[in-house]
Subunit: 308 residues, 2 copies
């Protein structure tokens, strides 16, 4: 029997998304479950294994038809050893060998990586930046995560820690950042920071989704709000674009829904602050695969690692 | 007859350095000449060709023993077409096909590249960062130039414009930069900027060399002066280190002679402002090949391009 399907999983802070992918990494089926009820690491790992087994059976498949399982996790990961160093938003995970644990439980080859890296693999392979060689992919959320494609391959760095675009400083001094430094981009445009700013301007009950909606209806204050976010993002991008002569930047995550005011401001800032050749080269795209990027990227990881 | 020598050339704003390199890129002979008397592009190109021919004869060699000629130039270059886009410090050069011109004149295969990139090739191959995979090499001078080694190869970007570390902004707003932007690192720590600052502190007759000497003799004001430069450099480095999970940074150029106060301040700032994993990984080195880096890098370029 030919192994021709891949399971892609995207583990978030509150739920797990799972997809059955064919060999071309098209999604054939999806399911998800809330991880809130699993109050320990061991229970969650068993829950994931059980979910995978049931998911395969539900699709009328046998385990022998599955090439492997890819899992994206929201934190720093040793992708080659399969170890999660820690998960900022899921307490209790420290140096957990997820691969070994789930290899045994599922009897399938399991591969793990950081979720922003997998989003980057997906968007640069079959998403917004397909066909571009040197790409920075961003996810704008509570954290500002990133992944880098260099010469058509995911670039990891020696510790698989490359891509931390959220921790590029945009000022010598400024607000404290969760990483221990200050004035990092994330300290200005991470969800918590912009929500705090939003509350000052629009009152305590506003949500970022509402400001996005208002901006798209040309509410001037909301447009200015997102333009200010775009300016800061564009400035950090300008430095990276000058340094890496990038072909493309892909912006995803919740904040990317702010749409035109944000993207226009990012592009204007790049034109103002980047060097001529670099600014002319780079294209800025909105992420295309949306919430599917994680599971599709997990599929690419399995293919990359199995050399398929 | 076996072609076993390479000519490496480093063209600066005021003089040209030339070296005969063996197959292992060891320097066998050196010479140089002032380019000041050549008042046109055509005369300088003819002067370079004549100098190469004479240099080969002076070494008792035949042209047939020379594998090729590598030339580093102080500006943006299309290395594959052999075209110089322009040279900020040598007027009159715009879209000049140096390769074609000198191929014909010298009857040798000529390859050209940006000088900071060649310095980077040399320092990462046989200099301070030999054995490291992901390296940023800097030259601190009038400009703050850079080159990047990614996964053991020189990373160029689509337009061969990668490496412009001097144009990473370190503040949202700040002094105007020669590139048209503002608050770029170069606008703070390029020679002109720090000399201006030095004149305010030490009077109009001071030179950067003197402040380096005084700092190395523990003069407090001079130490503080270089520590401030190191802080700004370290901040820009922190962002790049977070993004690229670099193994090594090599700092060269005149300002690197400031020595300990500068390097200590750079390292302290990286520890303060970079993420834990990235900060632990990266090593900061002083460039090792000094003024020879350019000609040696030009030799690596010839080898790279001829696949030797």
């Amino acid at each position: 029997m030919i192994r021709r399907f891949i399971i892609g999983i995207d583990l978030g802070g509150t739920n797990l998304k799972c997809a059955l992918l064919d060999n071309g990494l098209k999604i054939k089926a999806k399911n998800s479950f809330s991880t809130r009820s699993f109050n320990s690491k061991q229970k969650l790992l068993q829950g994931i294994a059980d979910f995978i087994t049931t998911f395969i059976l539900d699709q009328g498949l046998k385990r022998s038809e599955i090439l492997g399982v890819g899992i994206g996790l929201p934190g720093p990961v040793d992708t080659f050893k399969g170890i999660v160093h820690f998960l900022p938003n899921i307490p209790g995970w420290r140096e957990v060998n997820v691969k070994k644990n789930l290899d045994l439980k599922t009897k399938l080859p399991v591969f793990i990586d950081n979720d922003a890296k997998l989003m980057c693999l997906a968007e640069s392979s079959s998403g917004a930046a397909a066909g571009y060689s040197n790409v920075l992919c961003l996810t704008l959320g509570t954290g500002v995560g990133g992944g880098l494609i260099i010469n058509n391959s995911l670039y990891r760095g020696k510790d698989n820690a490359a891509g931390e675009f959220g921790h590029v400083p945009i000022n010598e001094t400024g607000p404290l950042c969760g990483c221990g430094s200050k004035a990092c981009l994330e300290a200005y445009i991470g969800n918590n920071a912009i929500l705090k700013e939003a509350h000052k301007i629009f009152g305590p009950d506003i949500s970022l989704e509402e400001i996005s909606k208002m901006a798209n209806n040309n509410d001037l204050l909301s447009v200015k709000f997102w333009r200010d976010v775009g300016k800061k993002l564009g400035l950090a991008l300008s430095g990276v674009i000058n340094l890496l002569n990038l072909d493309a930047v892909v912006i995803g995550g919740g904040v990317a829904c702010a749409g035109r005011p944000l993207f226009e401001s990012v592009k204007e800032t790049i034109l103002l602050r980047s060097m001529r050749v670099q600014a002319k080269r780079v294209r800025v795209f909105k992420a295309k695969l949306g919430t599917d990027a994680g599971v599709i990227g997990a599929g690419y990881l399995v293919k990359e690692r199995l050399g398929k």
